[in-house]
Subunit: 115 residues, 3 copies
């Protein structure tokens, strides 16, 4: 079974495709001066980009793991998450509070089926 | 490859089935007044329910990711976990300490093969 | 679809193989007196061992989830990670800061395709 690696770099590949599933690396905001909603928007935009690179889209999401630095900001993350996901095809998700890189408020890891 | 979504909601699906695997969303206790053992029991009961909805059971668990708020309570979580799992078919597991929603002491994310 | 469990124990299997993928349980250092680089080396050595037991190797890594107790030590983890991974075949990865067992500085969870 072949493995396709999207934007392989020194530390990681931005996404890996195998057996009909794409695994997207953890995405954080490039501009970490933004607030939780703004950072979440950057994160989902990045995810959209890598899903497209793998030949799929958010309607095929299987799983999402959401890491946020402050659980009291979960609602702010969801204010972007809920409008973003395909409302009839939400992934299995969990959201937990962790530390992230300096200034980062949210990191999201997803997997999706290839169309 | 078709995707089946179990109890899709506004934020997430409670479980997603694709290519012979069910991915269950992160489960926490509904009654967060209970202690670690009590909350873990609620969590594994919920997991049993979603595995059954997907047509499988805990003997087919592949992975488990356990998030607890206090690593010193890992033994209390395990006091429920160990009797719960199929003793001859344990999943690959990791357990780390994170923040969770208010009052939540444990959250577990699993995947399982469909029978 | 059969499931192979590698070193099944009381809490978990060290690795689980299903449908062409091996899921390795979270690995931590046995000798937690070592620093981040030393612990990371122990972790990747353990991962190599379980990948080999499953009939594959690090060039087939799909995903990696890296948990470290102190995000300021990410560079020390990467000082071992970067030389370890197959430079042309890096996995999709995320790295977040969590609590771990006493003395543990790093835990890594991987999945890999079977050759």
């Amino acid at each position: 079974m072949s493995i396709e690696r999207i934007e392989p770099g020194k530390h990681l590949s931005k996404a890996v495709v195998h057996n009909g599933i794409v695994y997207v690396a953890g995405q954080t905001a490039n501009d970490s001066s933004q607030d939780m909603a703004g950072q979440t928007k950057q994160v989902v935009d990045a995810i959209d980009k890598f899903l497209e690179a793998a030949g799929t889209d958010k309607s095929k999401l299987l799983t999402a793991m959401v890491y946020i630095t402050d659980m009291s900001m979960k609602g702010d993350m969801d204010s972007v998450w809920i409008p973003w996901i395909d409302s009839t095809n939400p992934p299995a998700r969990a959201c937990v509070g962790t530390n992230l890189g300096t200034g980062k408020l949210v990191e999201i890891v997803v997997s999706a089926a290839i169309k």
